[in-house]
């Protein structure tokens, strides 16, 4: 298993930001997700976030909603998520699972942490688990040897950033803007300030996500953050492609553009 620590050490040695790509398990199909993530890694992604499809994705925009809906309609279950993690981990990338809290809660938090570690996963990102509710998950993750990543937002006060950062291992996820997931014309102006404010509370790497979708945006964010997170833009490529082969080529092309961006 490649750890987040290894990824960020390597990126730092290369004097660049890390590139983190997101894709839900089961999208466009169960095998297609592994193929797409593999293409993303081959073209330059250091970390892959595998989304766990959930029926009520209340912080996701239309693109990820559409992908998740397709994954659930295709019968994607947690066992498929674990198999996807296992498949993608073979590429040598660090693999995280990004999920709303309820599926972990229902599966059993201790069991989920153990199974994810067993599948070669490096950790989780849990966007709706607040520090106040996170203690058991942090304990089970530590026992299983996987990282816990939580989010800070432009609205976060110093006190909240402190509380969130204390829960994080691996890195801190800084949401670039107030809003749902999705590629945008420009990355939120609040992002750079948020990264600065977050650094005052932690020595962990700080990565920026939400709204990043082009090489130029990746380069801009890489100027002040330790990692650049891209999700919806990859999914958009797959949704718009007429067939799977075209989709894979398109994803590979975007990953290469972004990888050049974080090295600019």
């Amino acid at each position: 298993m490649t750890t987040l620590q290894t990824v960020f050490e390597k990126a730092r040695a290369d004097k660049r930001a890390a590139l983190i790509g997101y894709l839900p398990a089961g999208f466009p199909t169960k095998d297609g997700a592994v193929a797409a993530a593999t293409a993303m890694v081959e073209a330059g992604c250091d970390v892959i976030e595998i989304g766990l499809p959930y029926s009520d994705p209340l912080m996701d925009g239309p693109t990820i909603q559409a992908a998740v809906h397709q994954a659930l309609t295709g019968g994607t279950r947690i066992a498929d998520v674990m198999r996807t993690v296992e498949g993608v981990a073979k590429t040598g990338a660090a693999v995280l699972v990004m999920t709303y809290w309820n599926p972990i809660d229902r599966y059993g938090a201790e069991r989920f942490a153990r199974d994810l570690a067993g599948a070669g996963g490096a950790g989780t990102i849990t966007p709706d688990l607040t520090p106040e509710e996170a203690a058991p998950w942090r304990r089970f993750s530590a026992e299983a040897g996987i990282d816990t990543v939580f989010l800070v937002a432009p609205s976060s006060t110093g006190e909240r950033i402190q509380a969130v950062a204390e829960c994080c291992t691996g890195f801190v996820y800084a949401a670039s803007l107030m809003g749902v997931t999705g590629a945008r014309e420009s990355v939120g102006v609040a992002a750079e300030g948020l990264v600065k404010r977050t650094r005052a509370h932690t020595d962990l790497p700080v990565c920026v996500g939400l709204g990043v979708g082009t090489g130029a945006q990746a380069a801009e964010v890489a100027g002040y953050a330790d990692g650049v997170i891209v999700g919806s833009a990859f999914i958009r490529r797959l949704l718009d492609a007429p067939d799977e082969a075209t989709g894979l080529a398109s994803v590979r092309e975007l990953a290469a553009e972004l990888a050049a961006g974080v090295r600019a």
């Binding site: 279950r77 229902r106 607040t130």
Partner: protein
């Protein structure tokens, strides 16, 4: 509370002085409640919680809320004894708390007036809300029209079709109605979409949550603004009968009307509290909204509570003939009342509810909302168990005008 002066006092809004009845500092009722939301929303939730605590202690706020409840919503509402209906319910003495007589025709007006005043206090100019049947949407649009607030209502596409009349009412009241086309295209998806709007526009916008579910502090705030129902009813029943009722009955969807009438009685151990959930086509059919009676503990829409979910935590779509009860979650305080044994929850099928709906119309000349008809159907069973010595207080949470389309189809009228 005095009968002169204000209806509302700070004590009426608080947990009624009953120990353990208010959530802890994290908004938990026992293991239920809390906050499971994106971090981006935490400051807004903190801001709402603080503004509410300040408002509750501010006599000017209480006076204004009280004034609106009296002169605009039509409070206090009557308690009506229904003898002919009671004969069917085992001869029990049945008393209806008439929330159907409020302005806009349902108990929802109590909460929206309180939260609309809170919106103004927060310095926000835009209100968003979710709605299922359209009752909360209509009430919200009404309060926004009254206070000059911009109003956007999220409503599932399916619900927009089956509640077209309420869509028209909201538009007439100046609200923008946004049909939600994702997921199951019903209430739960409207809530998801409202949260997405809120996180994007939180600087200008208050999310006027419509039930006692969602992240802290919504379960507490909505409960407190609905609490007047039980506060009034308790006094009225004492005046009318000289004693407390043996049981209080209410329908439970998200749970706001039920908590509103239950809450003033929680400290009265002799008063049984019965909540009636929508059994839809029956448990065996899988088409129901039996969240408390058949669901399991999980997290939905920001709170830990009972949820209809599959073995992997995916929400299962609910069903009810009553759009207002058609929700796969429930307020966390109800989950806590269930697990502590203080309240008991039961299922009532579509057919049982519709029978009670028509029975109240024919025996008493009152057409109830189909939501409230679930409580009436439960009362018939309860009255037959308890017998003629018993007094049962029922929350008649709304009137049935909005349900005429459903009734015409169901009864071939």
């Amino acid at each position: 509370m005095s009968t002169e002066g204000t209806l509302i006092t700070a004590a009426d809004l608080a947990g009624g002085g009953v120990a353990g009845n208010d959530p802890d500092v994290h908004g938990r009722f026992g293991v239920f409640g809390g906050r499971f939301v994106p971090e981006a929303l935490i400051p807004a939730l903190d801001e709402v919680a603080k503004a509410y605590q300040d408002a509750k202690a501010d006599v000017a706020f209480l006076r204004e809320f009280d004034h609106l409840l009296r002169t605009y919503a039509g409070r206090p509402t009557a308690v009506t004894e229904v003898r002919r209906f009671g004969e069917v319910a085992g001869g029990a003495r049945v008393l209806l708390k008439r929330e159907d007589l409020t302005h806009t025709g349902a108990h929802k007006i109590n909460n929206v007036l309180g939260q609309a005043l809170l919106t103004r206090r927060l310095g926000k100019t835009r209100v968003i809300a979710e709605t299922g049947a359209g009752q909360h949407g209509v009430a919200t649009a009404t309060a926004c029209a009254l206070l000059g607030l911009e109003c956007v209502i999220y409503m599932g596409e399916v619900d927009c079709e089956r509640q077209a009349l309420n869509v028209a009412r909201m538009k007439l009241l100046g609200a923008r109605v946004v049909p939600v086309a994702n997921g199951s295209r019903t209430l739960k998806d409207a809530i998801n979409e409202a949260f997405r709007d809120w996180v994007t526009n939180v600087d200008t916008t208050h999310y006027l949550f419509g039930t006692v579910a969602g992240p802290h502090p919504f379960p507490e705030i909505v409960r407190d603004f609905a609490r007047i129902i039980g506060v009034e009813a308790r006094r009225q029943v004492l005046e009318l009968t000289g004693r407390l009722p043996d049981a209080v009955a209410a329908a439970v969807g998200g749970g706001s009307n039920a908590i509103g009438i239950f809450h003033a009685f929680i400290g009265d151990p002799g008063v049984a509290l019965h909540g009636y959930e929508a059994g839809g086509h029956g448990l065996a059919s899988g088409e129901h909204a039996l969240t408390l009676t058949e669901g399991s503990i999980g997290v939905l829409h920001g709170a830990r509570t009972y949820v209809l979910q599959d073995d992997e935590g995916q929400t299962i779509e609910s069903h009810s003939i009553s759009a207002g009860l058609d929700y796969p979650g429930v307020g966390p305080e109800h989950a806590w009342l269930k697990d502590t044994g203080r309240a008991t929850y039961h299922g009532v099928t579509d057919d049982e509810a519709m029978e009670a709906f028509s029975l109240l119309a024919r025996t008493e000349g009152i057409i109830p909302a189909i939501e409230s008809a679930h409580a009436l159907a439960g009362t018939i069973k309860l009255g037959r168990e308890l017998g003629p010595e018993a007094t049962i207080l029922v929350n008649l949470s709304g009137r049935g005008d909005k349900d005429m389309g459903t009734a015409m189809k169901y009864f071939n009228l």
